[in-house]
Structures are given as C-alpha cells and as structure tokens.
Symmetry: C2
Subunit: 258 residues, 2 copies
DNA sequence: CGAGTGGTTGAAATCCGTCAAGAATAGTGG
DNA sequence: CCACTATTCTTGACGGATTTCAACCACTCG
C-alpha cells in the first residue's frame, strides 16, 4: 500500500509547514513534509501513485527518459505546484528534486479521493489542481513551439519570472541548471548557454551571476526574435479570420462523412 | 448566458447521436449536436466558456495565434475528446474544425458543474476529462521534444494511428492537412512533406494517398532516427541512476534553505 | 476550363547539435 | 581558511538539419 512511501526521504514531520492557503489544505493535518537533497528521486514512474505531492520550497522536475538516453523534462514544479495526481493507479513519470533545499508535502491519495466524494468543494479543488497542471503544460507547449532557441530561452525566463515572483521585479534567479533548462526546452545545453550570452549581448537581459539575471527588455524577451513583423498580411499560416460570414449563420453542409 | 451559443453552427439536434459510453453521458439529454464545415470556429479565446464540447466525428484543432502571426496547434481533438473545459470563466484558446464532416456535442457547463457538486461519480468523470487532456498534452510535449523532424512526424503518425484505430491496423488516414500538422509539430509544412517522403524512401511508411499511408516498420517510426544507439553509456544527460543508495535511506541534509 | 487550395520538390542561407577545450563555480577535506 | 577536485558553465569550430523563398504538380470546386 504505502509501497512508495518515501522511505528515501527524510525529515518527516506533520507540521503543516506553510500557512498560505492551498487546495489540499484540509488534509494538512495528515501531510508528510519531506526535505530532500539536490538530485533526489521523489517518485518513480510505474510505482503505485499513493501520494499526491505539493512543492513547498525549491524546485522539482517531472521527466521521462527516452529510449535513446535523452531526458525530457515534462513539467517544472515550483512552490505551490502539485504533482503525482494521476488518472491511473501508478505514477506516469519520475519526479526528482532539482535544487537543494527542496521541500515537498505528501498527501494520501486515498484520503483525498474519499474526501472529494463527500465534499463537492474539495472535489473542485482537486479539479483545480488538474487545471493548474494543464496550464503549465500548455505554457510549456507554447515555449517548445517557438522557432529559435533564444526565443525559447526568452520565454522560459519570462515564465520563470512570472511564476516565481509574480508581477514584480526584473531580477530572476534560475532555480535549475543549464542542463535541466536544456532538457526542459529540448535543446542542447551549449545552445542554452549561447542564447543567454546572446540575449545579454543584445541588451535584453543582464547576467549578474551564473543563475541570477536581470530583465532589461521584457518586451523583447516575450515577443519576436528581433524580426520585424510589421507585415501583418494574413499569410496562409495565420488564418486569423476564418471564412468570414459565408457559412456563419447558414447551415453548413451536413457532413458527407455521416 | 448562451452568449457563445454556437449561432454559427447548425444542424442542431438533441439526439444523443452516439451510443458509446462517455463521461458526460448523463447530460446527453440536454446536449446540442452541431455539424460544421471544414474550417469553422467552434469556440473563441476570451469568450465565456459556457459550453463543454465533445468531438463526435471528424477532427478539431485547439490553437493560438502568436504575435508574429504564426499559429500553434496546442491540441488535436478526435472523436471522444472533450474541449472547452477550463478553469476560468472564459475559453483559453480558439478551437476550429479541421476536417469536413466534423460533429461536436455541446454540454452546458453550469449543468455539468452543478451535477458534479451533487454527484461524486460525475465529479470523477469530470476529473477524468481533465486527465485525458493532460495525457494528450503530455504526449504532444514528447513529440515536440524529439530532435529531428522525421522523428516528430513519425511519432505523430504513431500517435494518430493509436488514437484513431487503437491497436489494429497499419493503415492510417491523416485527418488534417500538412499545414495543420506543421503547426502542430511546430515545423514548416515543407519539412513535413519532405519528412513523409523520406520516411517512405526509407521503407518505414508507404503513402497510398495524399492523406492515407501504411505503416511498414512501426518500430522505426516510434524509436530512433536510424541512429545506432548501441551506446547505452549513461551520459550525463541521462542520470537513469540517481545517487544510488547513498542517501537512499539516510536522512538527507535538512535543507539549508530553511 | 480556370482558379484556388493543398501538396511536393529544389537551392541557398541560417540555425543548431556535436565534439572539444577552457573557465568559473561549488563542494570537500585537510 | 585554504587548496583541491568535481561539477557546471562558457566558448569555438564544423557538419548536418531546417527554414525560407520559389517553382511546379495534383486535385477540387465552381
């Protein structure tokens, strides 16, 4: 049952640790707080998913290993993010801590699901956790969809800044290594490094430390790659306007595929 | 309320259309079936998300338009897939039909959420819909994470084959155009075309029609890109074995970040 | 039959991954 | 506290892959 109980984790306690509100707060009393080292496995693919985790401090990576040995980071988990909530009985991916001083809280899944069945509000909170994950995955899809690597790195920086210090501040501290960033962006670590240097050379960011940087031109980071796109001509790639009003209110042909 | 009621859709009826079981079946009685033309907008980003949709036939694309005019397809929707279930009050993305003869069912969101609050089983089904979408998004992340375009196209073909005709069959009918595939894989349409040709030249697939192909070597499609990866040496990129047992059962240092 | 969409293929420039070496940082032990 | 070492990070050079621009076919629809 508790087969995957994090026997390899430690510093367990039952102190609710954080006082900020969060979806599974009602279960804080039974939460298990674990503090873990730099590159520690928090849950492994294929093992029974008996625990839902929430990151309290630090950062964690959800990743898969490809048959060719390449690692792909599927989700980047910061304080407040949940992981381990799956549809099936087992974990889909491996999650490992990416930073020192990473702390997670573990909630018993059975308890959560039982609570959801009796408490509609709690059920909505559980749904919210899934929505949050959808949001993160979609954000990453948009990053991976960018064309050049400097663009990817730029969007990544903006995303991290937004998630770590919402709204305020130009200063960003990257919580993971270049290699982790590379596996997250599906590019090589060297190119990540080069892109950071190039962004600095362009005056878009300023590297004040290996993992600390300052955003100088947020506009340029988020958007274009210094291409001028004054050409707003609706290329066939961007059918912003779909077939205008032609078939808008008229009955579209009843599918020929019926 | 029904502000986004698909006035531009048509052929509405209240016949439950399909008899196969699905999560929102309990609401089939109030479902609105719509049949739509080739490139018709089903819901638009920013509009109030008052309807949850299910694809009955055909295919649909959930996409965003980048500031540079490029379109990115975020989700590919086949029969059985739901869309429009959001966390917030408005739709996050635009969804358009990608094939002729696409049919969708619309379920009132308010009804669904109300039902979920009073029926735990229904709440689980709603959660399942979110999990399914998570599953699709993650699958796409893995495709986008592949290195070469032939690999991306190969995984795409396998994924489509798996979703359209589970298990059986070598024959696949691509339900969307090359341009849609390109925007889904975040590559140029020309390269998609070239990759298909190359895969055929390699004897991995056989194009029997512009959108119909036959899988000849499923193994090669899913896996490597004819690179020999007999080198199973655990490069630093693939820490399959994390710090072995060193800190496995011993208390990891209590985070210095406390 | 002509127009338009969708699809394929070619050639050139660019971008990125790989290999390789060097620099900086952090962690360890004395 | 310092030196030592391993890791992480940066930069260079080269070859291959992809994008872009362009032209050319196939098919469908009116």
């Amino acid at each position: 049952m508790n087969a995957i109980a994090p026997s390899h984790l430690s510093a367990r306690s039952r102190h609710p640790s954080s006082s900020i509100p969060h979806p599974l707060q009602r279960l804080d009393a039974v939460a298990i707080i674990s503090s873990c080292g730099p590159r520690q496995e928090l849950c492994r693919e294929g093992q029974p998913a008996s625990t839902i985790y929430r990151v309290i401090a630090g950062a964690a990576l959800r990743s898969v290993i490809r048959p060719d040995g390449r690692r792909q980071v599927v989700d980047l988990l910061f304080p407040g993010d949940f992981f381990g909530l799956t549809a099936g009985a087992d974990y889909d991916n491996t999650v490992e801590s990416a930073a020192r001083g990473t702390i997670v809280a573990g909630y018993p899944r059975k308890r959560a699901e039982a609570q959801a069945d009796s408490d509609p509000k709690f059920a909505r909170e559980l749904r919210q956790i899934a929505f949050d994950e959808l949001s993160r995955l979609q954000a990453q899809l948009l990053i991976l969809g960018r064309v050049t690597v400097p663009e990817k790195v730029g969007s990544f920086i903006v995303a991290v800044a937004h998630r770590l210090s919402p709204g305020c501040g130009d200063r960003v501290t990257l919580p993971i290594s270049r290699y982790d960033i590379a596996d997250y962006l599906a590019v090589s670590a060297e190119t990540v490094s080069r892109s950071l240097s190039e962004l600095q050379r362009r005056g878009v960011i300023r590297l004040t430390g290996t993992r600390v940087l300052q955003i100088l031109d947020r506009e340029a980071l988020e958007e274009h790659d210094h291409h001028d796109w004054l050409s707003s001509l609706p290329s066939r790639r961007a059918p912003s306007q779909l077939p205008p009003a032609s078939c808008a209110s008229t009955p579209s042909r009843t599918a020929s595929a019926n």
